[in-house]
Amino acid sequence: MHVKKIVIVDDSVTIVNVIKKILSEANYVVETITDSTTFFDGGVQDFNPDLMIIDINMPEHDGFYLLENIKVKKVFPDAKIVMCSTKFFEHDIARAEELGADGFLVKPFNDKQLLEKVDYLIGQ
């Protein structure tokens, strides 16, 4: 069975670690990035994820910047993308969808909501 791989991009080490723990316990292989500026610099280029979970409010490259560039540069074109944020505003959720995100998780979310979203998109 192909083990599904997930990249989490979030500047909060605490949040990254919690999400990673839940997904790892569900037998996903997880890589994390807390500095969004390194995303395109080879940090996960060999990882070839099936899904990326990307925070929006990040210090340097915000999540929308990453999402737009991922789509334009066709980085991991087959990977699903879930944006996650405390930004629960219709404007931002709609924008993520317009830019090609496959899902949106509003913080706070619980482990059930996280796994439901991930399993729905890339369930193994």
Partner: protein, 305 residues
């Protein structure tokens, strides 16, 4: 080491400029706040319609050598005055204009777009002053001894708030912010600092947000915060990206702020209604035995610390 900063409000209104007899005292211009440090450095937060009269003042007085404008976000009530900021058209003037990109749309292009035909007759490129455009996210900038920290606010689109520190003084500016909307307010403002249980994700998220937000506003001499709504109004406007004055008050008390300035008044809020909000807020502080000072921002109001 003691320093002095004079804060002066040139625009205090949210959403849209207003002009009628009911708003004469507090004023009708949209967001613009001037901060003058005693070392001659002048900063401006936001370029709403209030930056128009501020610019006219600088035409008379001349622009200081160390001058920078910090824009929180690109909604019209925070940038609509920039095309009318007269010092930008004067050759020889020099300043820096900071703000955040909107995804791949650079801050410079965000500003230029509002001056494109057919929306405005003069292009952004016609600014004759030496203007440096600084695209920033969450960062820290030092200008002649003034430290300015930026942090994302909870508002639709990419939106920043700013914390200015100069010697022993601090001023926080969060004109558009709806924090903690998806959390229980009892938990947010609980005095009990529990170690987050990493199995309780809501708690983990809450503590992460509290650490970030209260680390940003904490112990500020002045907190200028979004107070667009009454609690009753807010109940029907959750998700619009603004706060009630009650939330601003709770945040200021919890964050050990010294002086809360209610800001970004709703365009429909009359002078009389603002006076009522202040009375309610001050009574709350009195009832709690606190020492928090409360004001409502009004045009030309100076606050010197």
């Amino acid at each position: 080491m003691s320093g002095t900063i004079e804060t002066r409000f040139w625009g205090v209104r949210g959403s849209i400029p207003v002009s009628n007899r009911d708003v004469v005292h507090y004023g009708g211009n949209t967001s613009c706040v001037e901060l003058k440090a005693d070392n001659g450095t002048h900063l401006v937060f936001d370029g709403g319609s209030g930056i128009y009269p501020l610019g006219n003042k600088y035409i008379k007085e001349g622009l200081p050598d160390n001058f920078a404008i910090f824009i929180t976000h690109s909604h019209w009530d925070h940038i609509q005055g920039l095309p009318f900021f007269a010092p930008a058209y004067v050759p020889g003037n020099k300043f820096i204009l900071y703000g955040c990109d909107q995804g791949t749309l650079a801050f410079r292009d965000v500003l230029a777009r509002q001056m494109q035909s057919p929306y405005f007759p003069v292009k952004f490129s016609k600014w004759m002053a030496d203007v440096t455009i600084g695209s920033i996210g969450e960062t820290e900038i030092n200008i002649n001894g003034l430290k300015i920290r930026s942090s994302y606010a909870e508002h639709p689109g990419m939106t920043l708030g700013y914390r200015l520190e100069y010697k022993d003084k601090s001023i926080v500016y969060l004109p558009d912010n709806e924090p903690f909307a998806r959390f229980s307010m009892d938990k947010v403002f609980s005095e009990v600092q529990e170690e987050p249980d990493d199995l309780d994700m809501e708690n983990v998220f809450l503590e992460d947000q509290k650490k970030k937000f209260f680390g940003f506003i904490g112990s500020a001499d002045i907190l200028i915060h979004d107070a667009q709504y009454t609690p009753e109004e807010y109940s029907t406007k959750v998700g619009w990206g603004h706060s009630s004055f009650e939330l601003a008050l709770k945040a200021a008390l919890y964050g050990s702020v010294k002086h809360l300035v209610l800001f970004h008044h709703d365009p429909l809020r009359s002078d009389t209604e603002i006076e009522t909000l202040i009375k309610v807020a001050r009574q709350t502080v009195t009832d709690k035995g606190g020492s928090l000072k409360i004001s409502a921002a009004s045009e030309n109001m100076p606050v010197i610390i």
